[in-house]
């Protein structure tokens, strides 16, 4: 074992721990102070390994993501979930945020083209009526498309040419390798289209999270910008399913009832997947039944 002095702060900390309580200097010729103990009697050599396999290219990753999303979509036969839509105003930090409206629906979907939405809650801070005296609120309609295009739109073959992709990070978490891929509009005139950062789990090559941003507002006259668009998925059994879509809007002029800054949030919860939804859920209404 050898001892030597070092100016490095972490080493200094270790040295303090190794040497015990420091004693005051006794004489000028005796050097005291922090020292570092280095273990040099045990050695480990790790031999270099030449990797012959080609590194997966970005194109291959994009292809695999598309195939992973297609595979996920094709394995879904039916699903039901609870959809909560929430609008919160005054989210620019100047005032306390206020919930303006919240609707909760139960949505049922079954291939090839069946869907049903059951309204469970419709709450508004200031209810409005339409010309027929009916409550005017958020209307939720769903088709049987379970491909979650909002998550994977940039990776679809029809749109991929519109975006530039680059890998901005890789993270190894347990036995999961996560790719962080950034995309942005390829055309310099499409800066009002979304740019984004996606997290791809290479286990199944599905997108687990996406953050979007708009470099320019699509309608600068009314919409100042959109901040912090977050799209999250969560694992439901064997599937990664849409969990939340959240966005913060900043307007150029205050919108009646919503103010100058407001949030829109969609939460998808309580999934039932491939549970075999009964035909009775989707049966057409008998003639004369009230819709």
């Amino acid at each position: 074992m050898t001892l030597r002095t070092t100016p490095l702060f972490p080493a200094f900390l270790l040295a303090v721990l190794a040497s015990g309580a420091a004693s005051p200097p006794a004489a000028a010729e005796v050097k005291h102070g922090p020292t570092l103990a280095v273990e040099d009697t045990m050695r480990t050599d790790i031999s270099e390994v030449l990797v012959h396999a080609p590194r997966v290219t970005l194109d291959e990753i994009l292809d695999r993501v598309h195939r992973g999303e297609m595979r996920r979509d094709s394995a879904l036969r039916d699903q039901s979930y609870q959809l909560t839509v929430r609008v919160v105003r005054d989210t620019d930090g100047r005032k306390k945020p206020v919930l303006v409206q919240e609707t909760v629906d139960r949505v049922y979907m079954r291939r090839p083209n069946q869907s049903r939405t059951v309204r469970l809650r419709d709450w508004r801070l200031k209810p409005k009526k339409d010309e027929n005296g009916e409550d005017k609120g958020v209307s939720v309609s769903a088709d049987a498309d379970m491909s979650e295009e909002i998550v994977n739109f940039a990776f679809r073959p029809a749109n991929r040419g519109e975006f530039k992709f680059r890998i901005v990070g890789r993270e190894l978490l347990g036995d999961h390798l996560i790719y962080k891929i950034r995309f942005e509009p390829r055309s310099a005139l499409d800066q009002f289209n979304p740019s984004g950062l996606v997290w791809v789990d290479t286990h199944e090559y599905v997108i687990v999270r996406q953050q979007l941003e708009l470099k320019q507002s699509p309608v600068p006259l009314f919409l100042k910008g959109v901040r912090g668009v977050v799209i999250e998925r969560q694992r439901q059994g064997d599937f990664w399913m849409l969990s939340r879509i959240l966005a913060r809007m900043d307007m150029t002029i205050p919108m009646p009832g919503y103010g100058r800054s407001f949030d829109i949030g969609l939460q998808f919860s309580d999934y039932r997947i491939n549970a075999g939804l009964p035909d009775s859920l989707f049966a057409p209404a008998p003639k004369g039944a009230r819709k």
Binding site: L17, T84, A158, R186, A188, D190, P284
Partner: protein, 454 residues
């Protein structure tokens, strides 16, 4: 102290090692996902989202939802299969203004959906200038997928009496009517059409095409309205006479984006006469290309080119027009015409608001952008006396016919009617020989105006 620190460190390492080894099996035993570090990572990202969005991201109160669901499911489900076709008629209004027809007001009614049995439209207008009734009907039926990657095609049939502008490459009914109504700045010329047509449009993955046929009698219209709201001197008073005759014309359009490049190509061809019959015999072709390349983070480079050529019968309604917004900005709008037209332009656009880019203000409500451009354009085959185009064998302009220019523009993008429309005030300076004057022009349109679709 050192013993305590060592013990703490060792205990932490031991616990972490045990956790790493045992977590998967524990998780599997509990039926939870196997990858705790991965789950923790995803959960951590989600927590940061919660912190940012606060109330918006909070889970909903579930009280009362079960009973509401039971009550909702007890009701009949309604027709929930597929897309419902609405047979309720939709009504709309139509309006236009130009010096040939005056004020044109009308209405349209539509029925059905293009993806179902098809959509039928009917319309009727009255033009108060010549006291003329116009009207017609159309039918559209669409097949194929709804997504961009799905191949889809649309069949269209139409018949009726209508009107059109000479410049078939650059005419916008809404904006040109607005310019004419407000201050008489309308340099289009108009003619009447009577007949029928059919079209088949198709597209997939950012590529599109159209095959059209029309058989229409084209007849001239005279000027009937010289007024405008601001009582300005009209830019053009006379409505030039169209060549009278029946056009039996086929048209093919192909366009699309180049893979991996921010470039769009467009090709169009019109053919009349020969086996198609009719009074006119011509072939008209036009090609255009444009792109938008980023130059760093602040600028964009926007090159565009176009070329067009008519052979055979050259009529006022099938010649090429140049000048004004699209094409040569240093020339008055549609002041150059010919059996051939070509042009190129390169523009550098400041992507950001100019004051924000100079760190003089925050991202503003009304972002003002700047651009600088250089271009040149030419038409050939025209008769300088009548202003009407004549047939020519030349496929390319002579060197003296090119009109180069440079200039700059101040731009504002309001986001309406389309996100990529700019209000542009351009100052164009002619370059080279000749006594052309610099020109200040206001226009509304896309940056790549040579293209009809991007």
């Amino acid at each position: 102290m050192s013993r305590l620190a060592c013990f703490t460190l060792r205990a932490f390492l031991t616990a972490a090692t045990l956790a790493a080894c045992l977590a998967p099996s524990l998780a599997r035993a509990q039926g939870a996902p196997a990858d705790s570090s991965f789950d923790a990572y995803v959960r951590g990202l989600s927590d940061s989202t919660d912190a940012f969005f606060g109330l918006t991201a909070a889970p909903p109160d579930t009280a009362g939802l079960d009973s509401a669901l039971a009550a909702g499911l007890a009701k009949p489900p309604g027709a929930a299969t597929g897309a419902r076709v609405s047979w309720k008629p939709s009504l709309g209004h139509r309006q236009a203004f130009n010096r040939a027809l005056g004020v044109t007001l009308g209405a349209n009614v539509g029925l059905g959906a293009s993806r179902g049995w098809g959509r039928v439209n009917g319309w009727v207008d009255h033009a108060n200038g010549p006291d003329l009734w116009l009207g017609g009907g159309s039918y559209a039926k669409r097949w194929g997928g709804t997504e961009d990657e799905d191949f889809s095609y649309t069949l269209g049939l139409s018949a009726g009496r209508g009107w059109s502008a000479f410049d078939r490459d650059h005419f916008d009914r809404l904006f040109d009517s607005g310019y004419a109504l407000l201050y008489g700045n309308d340099r289009n010329h108009y003619y009447r059409t009577d007949g029928a047509g059919a079209s088949l449009s198709f597209g997939r993955n950012g590529r599109w095409g159209t095959i059209q046929y029309r058989n229409q009698l084209e007849s001239p219209l005279a000027t009937t309205a010289s007024w405008n709201l601001f009582r300005a001197e009209p830019a053009v008073f006379e409505n030039r006479a169209a060549a009278l005759g029946r056009a039996s014309e086929a048209k093919v359009t192909l366009g699309g984006r180049v893979p991996r490049l921010p470039v769009t190509l467009e090709a169009q061809w019109w053919g009349a006469g020969g086996p198609l019959g009719g009074n006119f015999d011509y072939s008209r072709a036009r090609f255009a290309a444009g792109g938008a390349f980023p130059l760093g983070t602040l600028f964009a480079l926007l090159p565009q080119v176009h070329y067009g050529r008519v052979t055979g019968d050259v009529t006022p309604q099938n010649t090429f027009y140049l000048g004004g917004g699209p094409g040569l900005r240093s020339a008055e709008g549609k002041s150059l015409q010919g059996a051939g037209a070509a042009g190129a332009c390169v523009e550098v656009l400041l992507q950001d608001d100019v004051l924000h880019a100079l760190h003089l203000r925050q991202p503003p409500t009304f972002p003002i952008q700047l651009s600088a451009f250089a271009g040149l354009g030419a038409t050939w085959g025209h008769d300088p006396v009548t202003g009407l185009a004549l047939a020519t064998d030349a496929n390319w302009p002579e060197a003296r016919e090119w009109q180069p220019e440079v200039g700059g523009a101040v731009l504002y993008r309001p986001g309406i009617p389309q996100p990529d429309y700019f209000v542009r005030v351009a100052y164009a300076v002619p370059v080279g020989p000749g006594n052309r004057e610099p020109r200040l022009a206001l226009s509304l349109g896309t940056m790549l105006s040579s293209l009809h679709r991007r």
